[in-house]
Symmetry: C2
Subunit: 578 residues, 2 copies
């Protein structure tokens, strides 16, 4: 029975808990909503997902990873707008005292567009809605803002407020000038971060989908504003074709339309080559982690949904039988909003000096004060007047300058106007930022949900996680047919040899061989090596593929190389079957 | 000029900042003490250090990694003792208002053993000490406790106090029962975690050595208490020999003594095989990251220095020209302290059922009450008396039981004493924990400090970071002699081919070739490929080794394999030189 788009949430989470993928956190003290533990298999799988991400962004794209603290000082989030604006509307049920997200309650009550309402308006609408926890009609409730950042204090004596970062992005913006120097003052360049981010969600109820502590992988790509339509490697994805759910088609209730990235850019559907490039790269990356193309779509933000500073934004959404289409990656053109905000707030200009191909001749008017007369006439104020004159615009009757709050009229005979042509070598520009932002936990959940399958083996239902070999936590099982007659020793030796090649092999000798295969199938181990009586005769073992359950015999000496190549996808198992 | 143990702190940190290893965090807003950013090269190097750690603990030892949240609920840290006891003594300078660690001030003032003093006693001693910030004599100051955990609130309405974990260890203790099931109820097993931990230090002043947010790599190995002296793989390190600074030798002011792990265990110098095994493994691991054996020592905790529950503890200390001997790894036998604490506090027994080889015959005395008489005589209290009798110890005149606060004397004729022999299949035991705990940031600092070197190249001083190939952030530079005549195109192609093999190659075509070599030497890039005019004739390039500056010519087609083998240490560069 192949699982389609039905809801396998309960089955997957049961397996994930039972076998050590995902656990409720500090369960023995009562788990806390919005936090999870990655168990032994989950943490391994998550790391493999992150490493695929790194392969794309760090190796292929050449964007170095940096690592900023998860706690940052308040100034960073004042500038970014998070202190003032990173809040959800909240209300409290008067009956069960549960805190609720006001927009979720309103959604449940069929209220249209609650997210654009003011607090008072929303409060009126909520009166007739039911509490999401106790299901009573709410009645009169107050709606208020709740800031989603976790706050803390840095140092003793309440010296300094700090926040747990709500996104990894800000660290890269704040480091802009250092990054620019690292990349030797040349655009475009990028920096990436994989790490924890934190949002103090009001009432998280969706397992791995809405977490208070989660892992993001974000890339910030700094581009010259007038070069956004010429990504140097655009040809790599120009012909990459996929269904796009544009905002126009959403408004017209039309299904996605399939087109190449080149076409999407040319038709103005995707804002520029940079956004299109990362839309396509994201598609390729998600599919490589095991997300099926038919459960993946790219949806453009509606104009009213977009952040005010963004010019275009696309979400990669993955279909879940339980949660519907889940936003998993966002790819946005954030323009110069972030660098301007931090440049202004910190007083450190976040600009790049762009040299012209040839210096430009630019006319400039200079005002040359007559210092000796000025000095005699204005004495101590002469220097301030001198400075003020430099940027003044004189009229026929001279110029009025302001010095220490006093307005002083300087007659035209006290200065000379000189018109010059000067060489300007270049200009300071504020780069634009293209940001692909990935939710690693949501990717992991999608991979788990889509890998879950049941089929039949030996006349019984078999649960099998069809994880790709690149993602599976245990890469190969090593099973002695019996734990005796040297078979256990040989299997132990094979395990250690594989470890030395960096392959995660798991030795297991307990129980019937069929039961051991089932155990490995259930955690998605793609291959199993069995040491049997024939092994002692000719030093060969069987190699079994999880999905087809087919087996081939190969020499022990070829194991590291063959298993390694199967895991990277350099060879396919079918090519080994004669 | 080879750098010895002199203080190169300023030089290393200057290079680290300038070239993108380590940056002050959110510098444009004024850096915050105790936090650092890993820049592009630093983050890459740190990840390579972590991966070496994983190779030892996850692959070799077979201890799976898990990932718990960095925020945990208060109950966890009440049980662990951190809420009550994880504090430093603090005072505030009355002159400059700076908060200071009281023990550090006292140390500076020559006070003996300030760490064992009570607050009042320490306060008196501090009166004549100088402030570490403004250097005034303190005078009368109050000493108080400052808890080092960062606290925050989970959810709206101040619902729940949470703390940023001060160590990763607690997550693994709290998950004990799930881990036990994952490892199919068999001891020994281990779990590891690499991740952020947080300590709200009072006044951190030591760069990367004392951070408020830092990365730990911890392993918790759960062992049967009576098997601590039989590590199943002890033979791996039994003959591993290194200098040990035992507590006895410290008390006698003697230098370390060199011995094998077997000898250290046999002589009772190291408490057991488990501790000795991880002491040796740690030595091997640190040396593999590039820490020099002659700047590394293992120091045993003095009895008064040890945590009250630990039976033995060894610190790996690395010598720094600036900071002296720095504790970098701790290896402790924590006994059953942690599992008992969480078992008691949570009500979840953290035990393992150990089955005897054969059931044991155990004598048991049972008390069988005469229910009909008891019922008639005591009515509603009969049931409670019945229960109380089961665990009572009767004397010749019967037994006194307490029911609802009332003492009742039960005469011997109301019960029968029966002595039985029962089969006991096994027992529940609380495992002991062996914990190797690594400070990743301190390892990174030590690696940077020890890699820093200066020598002479082309008659000029050359700064060279002698990072091991396994650790160097950029693994190979690809340099076209000139950025023309196809040399740039060939070099670009080589770079992409190397990326596909997972090798971090950096293309650089700007500036004279000598200057480019210097740039790569300074960031520790171990190898450089140069594409020159000969390349176009015979498809060969030069391969240069950083340390010797020697070059060999090899065919382009052999690059991925050769560079890959050089990076893993499978071949040495000298074997390529004819």
């Amino acid at each position: 029975m192949k699982q389609g788009s039905e809801d396998v949430f309960e089955k997957v989470m049961d397996l994930a808990k039972r076998r050590g993928f995902i656990w409720p956190t500090s369960e023995c003290y009562g788990a806390v909503a919005g936090f999870i533990d990655y168990g032994p298999l989950g943490a391994m799988m998550k790391r493999r997902v992150e490493n695929i991400w790194r392969h794309f962004y760090v190796l292929q794209e050449g964007y170095y990873e940096i690592e900023c603290p998860t706690i940052a000082q308040e100034a960073v989030f004042i500038a970014s707008g998070h202190v003032a604006g990173f809040a959800d509307k909240m209300c409290q049920c008067p009956h069960c005292k549960e805190f609720l997200r006001a927009d979720h309650v309103a959604d449940g009550g069929g209220v249209k567009n609650p997210s654009v309402m003011q607090n008072e308006e929303l409060s009126l609408e909520l009166a007739s809605c039911r509490c999401l926890a106790c299901e009573e009609i709410l009645g009169k409730v107050e709606v208020f803002q709740f800031n989603l950042m976790f706050s803390t204090t840095i140092g003793p004596g309440s010296q300094r407020t700090g926040y747990l970062r709500p996104e990894t992005a800000q660290g890269m913006f704040v480091d802009f000038t250092r990054l620019l120097r690292f990349y030797r003052d040349k655009l475009p360049f990028g920096a990436v971060q994989i790490g924890k981010s934190y949002r103090n969600e009001i009432s998280p109820r969706q397992g791995m989908i809405r977490l208070r502590e989660f892992t993001q992988a974000e890339a910030e790509i700094f581009v010259h504003p007038s070069c956004k339509n010429s990504h140097p490697m655009f040809r790599r994805y120009a012909d990459y074709t996929m269904p796009l759910l544009t905002y126009v088609r959403q408004e017209q209730c039309e299904p996605p339309v399939s087109m190449s990235m080149r076409e999407a850019v040319e038709k103005g559907i995707i804002a520029n080559e940079y956004v299109a490039y990362y839309v396509a790269l994201t598609h390729q990356l998600l599919v490589q982690t095991g997300i099926k193309p038919d459960r993946l779509r790219f949806r453009q933000h509606l104009p009213e949904e977009r952040a005010h500073y963004a010019t275009d934004c696309w979400d990669a959404e993955v279909f879940s039988g339980r949660f519907g289409w889940v936003e998993t990656v966002g790819i946005a053109d954030r323009t110069d909003y972030d660098l301007r905000a931090h440049g202004d707030a910190s007083g450190t200009p976040m600009t790049v000096f762009i040299q012209y191909d040839e210096p430009k001749k630019v006319p400039r008017r200079r005002i040359i004060p007559n210092m000796s007369v000025l000095g005699r006439q204005y004495r101590t104020k002469a220097k301030a007047i001198f400075t003020a004159l430099e940027s003044a615009t004189p009229g026929p009757s001279g110029v009025c300058v302001e010095v220490d709050g006093e307005k002083i009229q300087i007659p035209p005979d006290l200065f000379e106007i000189r018109d010059e042509i000067v060489d300007v070598r270049g200009e300071d520009i504020v780069p634009h930022v293209i940001e692909p932002s990935y939710g690693i936990d949501r990717m992991c959940y999608a991979v788990l949900e889509q890998a879950y399958d049941e089929d039949t083996a030996d006349g019984e239902t078999r649960i099998v996680m069809r994880l790709l070999p690149q993602i599976a936590p245990v890469q190969v099982a090593v099973l002695p047919l019996m734990a005796r007659d040297d078979m256990d020793l040989i299997a132990g030796e094979i395990t250690r040899t594989l470890h030395k090649s960096g392959i995660l092999a798991e030795y297991d000798d307990s129980g019937a061989i069929g039961r051991r295969y089932r155990r490995q199938d259930e955690i998605g181990t793609p291959f199993a090596i069995t040491v049997d009586y024939e092994t002692r005769e000719n030093n060969s073992v069987t190699l079994r593929e999880r999905d087809t359950m087919k087996q081939v015999r190969i020499p022990i000496t070829k194991l590291p190389e063959t298993v390694g190549a199967l895991l990277t996808g350099n060879i396919m198992f079918s090519s080994l079957v004669h």
